[in-house]
């Protein structure tokens, strides 16, 4: 009986010492700055027939001089290139297909981003219809939008303001939809571990320790 209680006391001493050790670990870690994550991410979007990519490490540092490889759905590599000092790399759409942009930042860091076929088509048609009626330069576009001078008789009647607003809003929503979708994906990808995640992970570890202790205790009692 006494032997048993002694054993038990020994056990609590051990537990106490582990708490001390945890305190030590936290003490060591406290001054470190929670700055960056250990992940690279690449983000790609299409403009006309050019695909732009932006690569960075978690936390926002640009991935400079990293290798970008572009694959089609069959896994065939279409092209490869290196990011510049801003972590950017652009290339002409090599073919109308779903493209997988893979970022290789070296020493085992890798990320990828998928550009869908629909996105590429959309960007392409959007550009061609957008630039057909007028020259692509901004000045010309503005000119086209301004109603013809009052002396002109052939020009269309100016639109009522409300109607014009509706049309513009509709067009804006149409244009922004894919961008908003991509933004959401980007935010999701760039999400940093927050306190909730970290505490959740620690909780899992202790839960598993509980399971292990239960199994070990059963074994010992048998």
């Amino acid at each position: 009986m006494t032997e048993r209680s002694e054993k038990k006391r020994n056990g609590t001493g051990r537990v106490r010492s582990w708490v001390l050790r945890l305190a030590w670990i936290l003490f060591i870690l406290a001054p470190a700055i929670p700055a960056q994550a250990h992940r690279v991410s690449v983000f790609a979007w299409v403009e006309g027939d050019t695909v732009h990519t932006e690569s960075k490490f978690g936390g926002g540092r640009k991935a400079k001089g990293a290798v970008i490889e572009v694959y089609d759905e069959t896994g065939k590599m279409l092209l490869t290139g290196k990011t510049d000092d801003n972590g950017a790399f652009s290339f002409a759409v090599p073919k109308i297909a779903t493209l997988e942009v893979v970022l290789k930042a070296g020493t085992g860091h890798q990320g990828s981003w998928t550009v869908s076929e629909a996105e590429i088509r959309e960007a392409k048609t959007g550009m061609s219809t957008g630039s057909k009626p007028s020259a692509p330069s901004g000045e010309a576009a503005v000119e086209a939008l301004t109603p013809p001078s009052p002396t002109g008789t052939a020009g269309p009647a100016p639109m009522p303001v409300q109607e014009l607003r509706n049309v513009v809003e509709e067009a804006m929503a149409e244009q922004l939809r894919p961008i908003l979708g991509r933004l959401a994906r980007l935010e999701d990808q760039a999400r940093e571990p927050d306190l909730k995640d970290i505490l959740g992970g620690i909780g899992y570890i202790f839960g598993l320790a509980g399971v292990a202790a239960y199994v070990a205790a059963r074994k010992r009692n048998r």
Binding site: R14, I28, P34, A35, A37, H38, T107, G108, G201
Partner: protein, 202 residues
């Protein structure tokens, strides 16, 4: 030093998973009732330490603590680090599920080496003890870098180049870890010497 999903080739991933599974099996055998709480605390410490990143050089560095986890747990470092790395992969996409085995090896094997190399030095003199602690931190990172480079060599350019890159990025970490581990060992020796492997000499 987490290796991402899709970087390594199938055979490397398979071999890594098999070796990590074997190490974990041995580790679970050595983890008796009294050691479970400690293993969990060290796993939690490792889990948190790897999340705190400081930008340095071309990438980011963080404390790894695999040397001291190995020193204190021996083979038990395998299951402890497996759990921590699994959670990092699932919760934060650090590393990846397919690369989990390789990542466990990268962290646990150096820890195990530290355990066998340094445990006998803990009980000879205070100076040797500090040296052992420093060696744990230093060697833990150094060997982890070498194993990571060895795993990467199959998919990337040359071993020397990759190893050079990884090690160059981690030289400061080696020293920081060495100091942290040395002070940790000294602290544990002061407050609870029975935690150190081998126990106080009778």
């Amino acid at each position: 030093m987490h290796i991402s999903e899709g970087v390594l080739s199938g055979p490397v991933l398979g071999a890594g998973a098999a070796l990590a599974a074997a190490g974990t099996a041995v580790g679970l055998k050595t983890l008796d009732y009294e050691k479970i709480a400690g293993a969990a605390l060290l796993a939690a410490g490792f889990f948190v330490a790897s999340l705190i990143h400081v930008p340095l050089g071309p990438g980011n560095v963080h404390l790894i603590l695999n040397g001291i986890v190995g020193l204190l747990l021996g083979w038990g470092a395998f299951p402890a680090l497996l759990v921590a790395l699994l959670l990092q992969a699932v919760l934060f996409q650090y590393g990846g599920l397919t690369a989990l085995g390789v990542n466990v090896l990268i962290m646990a094997v150096p820890g195990l080496v530290c355990y066998y190399l340094f445990r006998s030095m803990l009980w000879k003199s205070a100076r040797l003890r500090i040296a052992a602690g420093f060696g744990c931190g230093f060697l833990g990172v150094l060997l982890a870098g070498l194993i990571a480079a060895a795993a990467l060599v199959i998919s990337e350019e040359s071993f020397l180049e990759v190893a050079g890159l990884i090690l160059a990025a981690h030289v400061p970490v080696m020293f920081i870890e060495g100091i942290v581990s040395a002070s940790g060992v000294a602290f544990i020796h002061k407050v609870q010497p029975s935690l150190l492997p081998g126990g106080p000499p009778r």
